[in-house]
């Protein structure tokens, strides 16, 4: 474990050295994400000008939920995103070879080697928005609920990574992942909305098979409605089950890996 932390420290060092070298890109990314946050908040603000409740949540609750989603997204953009998007390229170009011969987990390597230092400021910004949204919330939340909420958001971040990888891992067999990547992008929108606005099988899918609702929406539900062991167990259980399923598929994928001609 300590060795992996030291390896990760090296990744961080590399990423910050690189990010500082490209100043303009560094500030451009911060500006771009700030606009993205503003557009999202404005979207809900507009909706709540016409309705007091959305899926049973008022504006203050949706603000906390959306801030939680920003927080998850910022961690994902900082820690995983660059790696996830370049993963199909590694497989198709044969660059994965270099990671398979190293005595470390190849999954660890390809998942976190590229830390997006230029998104790190956004993570600070998103954390600030989340803290502000929780602080201005008019109802009583309590410290324990807030701590559990943040913990669930971290679980949700990991779950988001697992879902993305599950969508991309077929590249080992299909050799082209652009279609799957588009689908992942498209369904991502479902995770950006409170899950109560969906009904029937869509809602069932969103909390089980493609559990995007467990990333930000269900944690917000726990925050507002109180901690129920069944719900906590459901979030952790689904996350663990999907991760185990992903590990199994990953091992099959490495077996099928054909590398690329030199």
């Amino acid at each position: 474990m300590r060795r992996y932390l030291r390896i990760y420290a090296n990744f961080l060092r590399f990423s910050f050295s690189r990010a500082m070298a490209f100043r303009l890109d560094f500030f451009f990314r911060v500006g771009m994400d700030a606009i993205w946050y503003a557009v999202h908040l404005a979207f809900f603000w507009l909706i709540y000008r016409h309705t007091p409740l959305l899926g049973g949540w008022n504006f203050d609750q949706v603000l906390v939920f959306t801030s939680g989603f920003f927080f998850i997204d910022a961690i994902n953009m900082t820690v995983f995103a660059n790696n996830i998007w370049s993963f199909p390229v590694l497989v198709n170009s044969g660059e994965l070879d270099a990671y398979l011969v190293r005595p470390v987990s190849s999954l660890f390597f390809i998942s976190v080697r590229d830390f997006a230092a230029n998104s790190f400021l956004n993570l600070i910004m998103a954390s600030g928005i989340l803290a502000w949204a929780i602080a201005r919330y008019p109802g009583e939340l309590g410290v324990v609920r807030v701590v559990v909420y943040v913990a669930l958001l971290l679980v949700g971040t990991f779950l988001g990574y697992v879902i993305s990888m599950l969508f991309l891992v077929p590249v080992f067999w299909m050799h082209n992942a652009s279609g799957l990547r588009e689908i992942r992008f498209a369904i991502g929108t479902y995770g950006e909305r409170p899950h109560q606005i969906f009904h029937g099988w869509v809602r069932t899918v969103l909390v089980t098979v493609v559990p995007l609702a467990l990333c930000a929406s269900v944690p917000a539900q726990v925050l507002f409605e109180g901690i129920t062991p069944a719900l906590l167990l459901h979030v952790v259980g689904v996350t663990a089950a999907l991760f185990l399923a992903f590990l199994w598929i990953w091992s099959r994928a490495l077996r099928a890996y054909a590398s690329a001609s030199s």
Binding site: I7, N10, F14, S17, A21, L100, R102, P103, V104, A258
Partner: protein
Amino acid sequence: MIRADRLSKTFRVHKKAPGFVGSVKSLFRREWVTKHAVREVSFHVGEGEIVGLVGANGAGKTTIVKMLAGIIHPTSGDSEVLGFRPWERDNRFRRQIALVMGQKQQLWWDLPAADCFLLLKEIYRIPDAAYRERLDYLATALEVTKELNVQIRRLSLGERMKMELIAALLHAPRVVFLDEPTIGLDLTAQRAIRDFLLKYREDHRPAMILTSHYMEDIETLCERLLIIREGEIVYDGRLDAVVANFADRKLVTAHLRAGEPIAASNGNLADLGDVQEANERVVTLSVPRTQVARAASEILRRYPVADLTIEEADIGVIIERIMRARGDQKP
């Protein structure tokens, strides 16, 4: 240290007719072709040995290396490297091997090599003292000490390859796979890398498998050769034995004394062998081994010879002939 036992690898490849119509057809009906990249290959490599793996493009060299390095699974057959089955990717196995790919860069493009080496130090758990000692040895031997703190992308191709070699050897691997390590390099850089590999072998005695399209690499570095043709090993033996086994002719060259008349009765050169060159200064014939003595004495008798040489055919040419011959042909 390396044992391959009837290793085979087949790939299923999608075949598409050319043009737009072919693309549309393939959308609905796929035609698949099974490609036998490697067929029942068996060999072993011992400690301190550098074995050359040569073959034409697509012969299966890199596929063999990738199976032995644990990157891809074989379709059938077995292999053992340092007592491990490579494709099980045991960390104890991966800690003792290295793979250098001339066509693929493994170091971080935007960072100095020294930074990348520090990451490898953590990955391979190299103790501080051993790391400093090895880095000093490798950088000195490859003459890149001054370039260690320069960004990889600012280095020349030759310097980059030297850094790749340092990255591969920092953890003192017992088995090294070198897949075209000199590809694209100028002659000076090629020679420097060859000299370094010889010195490294002498000092550390790892088992090495080298693939290269440059005969100079093979001739300088390898005592033993595996020639691959269409996925099969067609020769496994000493490099110098290739000549004895496959070269049935020698080159006889006579340099003639200038200004001396050539006897009118010198007959037809073609009855002595295949004429490679014939003018008033030089006569070169390719002669069957058994006829060399007779051809030489006839040339001495018929021409005003200043100097006569008898050479083996060029080894590169022989190997190329073996590589290119079809399965049913004698090279």
